[in-house]
């Protein structure tokens, strides 16, 4: 498993790096709208209506943005949590932790493709 993880390291680092860069840039706007404007009642009526949201999310760019918003934070999260586990003496259990976390990120990414195909 360690050998496989070493081979996959460049791909994991690519997804992790993009998770920080792209994920962060896209998530800020989403969190401002859903985390603040929505509960405070600041959103204009119908802004997040299902019909409009589906129109926005189901075109090619919308699907790509949604895929980035799901998959990239998952890989950023998985890699950073693995790093945290190693920092706290988890060198011996690293293969198991990495398999679990990257497995979760892979599963989430696959489900993201299914969710986007359903739009």
């Amino acid at each position: 498993m360690k050998q496989l993880l070493l081979k996959l390291e460049p791909v994991i680092w690519l997804l992790f790096g993009q998770g920080i860069l792209v994920g962060t840039m896209l998530l800020t706007g989403w969190l401002l709208v859903v985390g603040l404007a929505l509960p405070l009642g600041l959103l204009p009526a119908g802004a997040l209506d299902h019909t409009r949201a589906l129109e926005l999310g189901s075109n090619a760019i919308g699907r790509l943005v949604l895929l980035a918003l799901i998959a990239l934070p998952l890989w950023k999260g998985a890699h950073h949590l693995r790093s945290l586990s190693i920092d706290f003496g988890g060198g011996a259990r690293d293969a198991a932790v990495a398999t679990l976390l990257y497995g979760l990120a892979s599963l989430g990414s696959l489900l993201a493709l299914v969710a986007i195909a359903r739009l």
């Binding site: 896209l26 998530l27 401002l32 204009p44 299902h50 998952l74 950073h80 969710a115 739009l119």
Partner: protein, 147 residues
């Protein structure tokens, strides 16, 4: 292009006679301010992992129809979700600021025939892109564009 060298190509044939102690972690390393910030940066991974799965739920609900979509939006008004979203916003801003500061330092000295732009320019471009994308995203989601 020449093949890359073996990582131990320059290592002596036989290990030296100098005895070295195995590496040890300093006592209380995690309490040092520098390490605390570093660990906090790593710990944002949990928030990002949860956010990824939450976005998956949102997208799934969008494809499931109006009832599921309205239910998700109604859930987001629950104080627990509001608290999580606010924590996530703090985590995302922290990650962005720290990553943007590190980004110029991580550039190679040359990218092909070109030298990367000076660090302040990279820094400025990253912040400009972040603000522009966030404004665009907020405007679209609030109905200011593509309404």
């Amino acid at each position: 292009m020449a093949p890359s060298a073996h990582p131990r190509a320059m290592a002596p044939a036989r290990p030296g006679r100098t005895r070295t102690a195995p590496p040890q972690t300093a006592e209380g390393w995690y309490a040092q301010p520098r390490m605390r910030r570093y660990l906090l940066f790593d710990a944002t991974g949990l928030v990002y992992l949860l956010l990824g799965f939450l976005m998956l739920r949102v997208t799934w609900a969008l494809g499931s129809g109006r009832v599921a979509w309205d239910r998700v939006l109604a859930n987001f008004e629950n104080p627990l979700y509001v608290a999580f979203h606010l924590l996530s916003l703090v985590a995302v801003v922290f990650v962005a600021v720290r990553f943007f500061r590190l980004f110029p330092k991580a550039q190679p000295p040359r990218i092909g025939p070109l030298k990367p732009p000076p660090a302040p320019m990279i820094h400025g471009l990253l912040y400009a892109a972040w603000i522009a994308i966030t404004l665009l995203f907020v405007t679209i989601l609030c109905g200011g564009l593509f309404a």
